[in-house]
Every structure is written in C-alpha cells, then in structure tokens.
C-alpha cells in the first residue's frame, strides 16, 4: 500500500469518532442530553483506540503486517487524548468545575469514578513515558514492564464503562450488548498475548532439552 494511504488509515481511524461527533452536533443529531452524548462517546472512543492499540502487536505477528507494530503507540496516544477530552467534559463542562459536587460524587465512593480515574492515571503514565528519550532513560526492561499495564488500563476502563452503562451488565439486563462486545475483544487481545508467550516458552523449553524430546 502507498505510504499516504497508510498514514491516512493510521490517523483517520483515530479522528473518525471526533469527526462523527462534530458532524452529529452540526446536524442536530445528538440527543436532548448532549453532554451525556459527548461524555459517553469520547469515553467509548478512548476504549476503542485502546483496543486498536492492543491489536497492533498481535496483528504484526503476521509477517505481511509487520509494519503495524509501531502503530500501537500512535493509537495508544490517541486513546489517551480521548481520555483527556472525556475527563475534561465530565469535570469542566458537565460539572462546571464544581469541585464540591464532584468531591461529593467521589467521596461517596462511586466505584465507576475510581475505576475511571485509575484507568486515566495509568494511561497518563504510559503517555508520559512514551517519548523515545524517556523510554531510553527508563531502560528497555523497566519500560516494557510498565507498559504491560496497558492491559490493566483496558480492563479497568472496561469495568468503568460496564458500571456506568444503562441496566446491569453483570446480570445481562438492559443495554449491555455493547459492553460485552468490548469485553470480549479486550479479553481476546490479552489472551492472544498470553497464549503466544506461553507457546514460545513451551517451544523454547522443548528446544533446550532435545534429548528428552527424542
């Protein structure tokens, strides 16, 4: 594929949710509760970009798609950008910087807030250690260990979404189809990494002791 087409794909998928939101707002297609539309759809875009980011490595195992591997960083940073927008909309636009109201919401230990905040902080740490200079200073081993936390962020963000969704996702009541579609995709992506790691280890162990195998 041509380079420009790849660049378009790489950034286009990330800009699409924002463009669609602006288009819907322009055409008057948002609901009568537009702040909720904005908050939910930017949150969903963050989770979607996170899933895209997590899919880059497994897809790149297939040789013709090797070039996909660095896209995980691009898409991961877009995920964080949507998460920043999402939190800004919640705190600044929805709550209008009313810290007393927000504090009330958090103080009363609504788990969805804590989970959302935890996922956001993990993504912030990953974004901060994303520049090559910082990564080099951190050292490859530590960087890798830290960035495995992206799976924690994805799981926690998913849980956050499941608690905030209409109905009860865990009792399969209400509007839960989407929540579970996200859950299955994220779990499958994690399973792919764990599965391959296990398989490589097993193969390495077999090769290391050929006498037994023979």
């Amino acid at each position: 594929m041509r380079a420009w087409a790849l660049t378009l794909l790489r950034h286009g998928v990330a800009w699409w949710p924002l463009a669609a939101l602006l288009l819907d707002a322009w055409l008057g297609r948002l609901s009568p509760n537009p702040i909720q539309d904005w908050t939910q759809r930017t949150g969903r875009a963050a989770l979607t970009m996170l899933a895209f980011s997590l899919s880059a490595t497994p897809l790149a195992w297939w040789r013709p798609l090797r070039w996909l591997k660095p896209w995980r960083r691009t898409w991961g940073l877009y995920a964080f950008a949507y998460a920043v927008l999402h939190v800004y909309l919640f705190v600044g636009v929805d709550y209008g910087w009313r810290w007393d109201w927000l504090w009330d919401e958090v103080l009363r230990q609504k788990p969805y807030i804590w989970l959302g905040a935890a996922a956001w902080l993990i993504l912030a740490a990953l974004a901060a250690t994303s520049p090559r200079r910082v990564a080099r200073r951190l050292g490859a081993r530590r960087w890798k260990a830290l960035h495995r936390a992206v799976y924690v962020a994805a799981g926690v963000a998913w849980w956050h979404q499941a608690l905030a969704a209409k109905g009860n996702a865990f009792a399969l009541q209400g509007d839960v189809g989407r929540v579970w579609r996200y859950g299955i995709v994220i779990a499958a992506l994690l399973a792919a990494r764990v599965g391959r790691w296990g398989w490589l280890r097993w193969r390495a162990a077999r090769r290391a002791s050929p006498a037994q195998a023979g």
Partner: protein, 315 residues
C-alpha cells in the same frame, strides 16, 4: 393533612407549539456548544446557554423553571417495551394501537369499574398540572400534563377498608412491543405500586395528555401514572389495570434489581443509587447540572407521608 393547591396557569398562557425553537435547531445549538466547550479546553469558560429564548412566555413550574420543549419531551423516553435506547423509542412506538383501550379499577373496591378511555375522559373533568420529572438516571424535565387526579378515579371505585396498596399493571402486547419479546429477563408486563395514602395524594395524577395534546405513545399513551416526587420509573405507562390490594405489591424494577430500585423510590439527593450519586441532575435543555431537590421539590406537600420513616432503608 394540609391540602395542597396546585398553581395552574390559564390555558391562554400555554405557549403554542410552533413558538418553541424546533428540536433540530435546539439540538444543534446545544450540541455544538458542548463541542465548542470541549475543543476550547485551553481557554476554559463557563458554558453559555444557547440562545433558546422564545418570543412568547413558556409555561413555568411553581419554582419558576420553564417547561421542557415538546420536541424534547416526546423524543427522549425511557420505555423498555419499545427500546432501551431513549431516542429510538418514539420511532418504534409509532403505530402502537391505543384505541380502543379499556381500564379496570378492581380488587378491594366496592364498585369495580371497567371504563373505555372515552368514558373516562367524559366522566371525569381534565385538569392541567405542570410537574418536574426526575429520572433515576440523573436527568430531569418539566412537563405540562393533562389528566385526572388518581384519587378521583379511586374514589369512584370506593376502596374497601382493608385496601392498603394500589397495584398498577401496564399493557402486555408483545406483538407491538418489541422489548417484551427481546428483553426476556424482565417480568413483563410492567407493574408498579403505591401505598394507598400516596395514591390518594393530590399530586398523584393519571395523565391522558401533555402540552394540550393527547399523550403520544412514547410518553405512555393513552393513560399513564405521574407521581412527581418519585423517580420516573414509578410513573408507569400504558396502564390497563389499577388494583387495590392489602399487601405491598411486587414492582418491575424492584423485582429485577432490588438493591438499586426500592419500592418507594422517592427522589432524594441524600440517598445514592448504588452505582451513582443522586445529588445533582441535568435538566434537559439546560447546560451543566443543578442540585436535586428533596422529594423533587415537593417536600412541603409530601414529607408528611414519610414521617418517622428511615428513608435510607426505605429507598
């Protein structure tokens, strides 16, 4: 118990529908305002309300808040019988048959009644009430209803002395209500309940119309309960049976998720939903949030019903 006189505007003060900003214009204005606020994150400013000031006065509730535009009230509906998507309900509700419609008032009464909707409209004078509606999900609206106080209907049937509760049953029509086919985990039909003194309260209302028009299907046509000091899910739609009973009846949401939705479900900013706070709400058509009022602002009228009760326990 003190009688509450509800302030009613004369019909001449109800703004004709065409005066309101059209839904599309309004949504565009507010949707873009949110977007602008979102994208101007580097220069945070309080979100300014979009210019929605109509040319003529709109009806207001007794606290001075304007009624929510008709187009919003009729396009943002929680009605799982049609869809869990509030914006899909109005479309899917089109063509739902509400004529003929029969309503029964039965159970522990001396004079069981079976009324066609026209009989009901002929026999009982219609009143107008402008009520706040607070959804348990955290949004709210102000709606001008027409209808009959529930107490008027109940008195016509003459409740027996042993009647303690009122049970409401909505229509069961899976052929026309896709939700009753698709959401099998819900015990259809929708049922609700009130204590008899709550049901007899002046504020408790059976609505047959809104904004001076017959009730649209998505708002509960042809007849729905409106209990303005309780979360919206108590205000059951498309009622076919009102039954006086001795024991507290099972209700749909209380059966499905008893830890989240109580039998009383009084609007209360101090008592949270287990998954979110109820301290604030978003009024449809307004940017930002406002504090939620005790009993949805009807504390003066209804607090006496719950004197001595632990509202944390009886949520």
């Amino acid at each position: 118990m003190s009688r509450f006189r509800y302030p009613q505007p004369p019909p001449s003060e109800i703004t004709p529908e065409h005066v309101y900003l059209s839904r599309r214009d309004w949504l565009k204005a507010v949707g873009l305002a949110v977007g602008t606020a979102a994208l101007a994150a580097c220069a945070p400013r309080a979100l300014k309300p979009a210019s929605t000031a109509p040319a003529e006065p709109v009806p207001h509730d007794e606290l001075g808040d304007p009624a929510t535009p008709y187009d919003i009230v009729t396009s943002y509906n929680n009605y799982y019988e049609f869809s869990t998507d509030k914006r899909a309900v109005a479309d899917r509700a089109q063509g739902f048959p509400t004529d003929p419609w029969t309503i029964e008032i039965t159970g522990l009464v001396h004079e069981p009644l079976t009324l066609g909707l026209e009989d009901l409209l002929k026999r009982f004078p219609q009143e107008e009430r402008i009520y706040r509606l607070r959804c348990v999900e955290g949004w709210s609206a102000v709606i001008p209803w027409q209808g009959v106080p529930l107490a008027t209907l109940l008195k016509a049937a003459q409740p027996k002395a042993e009647a303690r509760f009122v049970r409401f049953v909505a229509v069961y029509d899976p052929e026309h209500m896709p939700g009753q086919r698709n959401y099998q985990t819900f015990p259809w039909p929708y049922t609700e309940g009130l204590r008899l003194d709550e049901a007899m309260h002046d504020l408790t209302f059976m609505a047959t119309g809104l904004y001076g028009k017959p009730l649209p299907v998505q708002n509960g046509a042809p007849l729905r309960l409106v209990v303005p000091w309780k979360y919206g899910f108590k205000s059951i739609k498309a009622v076919v049976r009102i039954e006086l009973v001795a024991e507290q009846p099972a209700t749909l949401w209380n059966t499905v998720a008893p830890n989240e939705y109580g039998f009383y479900a009084n609007v209360n900013p101090q008592v949270d939903h287990p998954r979110w706070s109820q301290a604030t709400e978003r009024r449809l058509g307004e940017p930002g949030r406002r504090p939620t009022l005790m009993f949805n602002g009807y504390e003066e009228q209804v607090a006496a019903l719950y004197a001595g009760m632990d509202l944390e326990k009886h949520y």
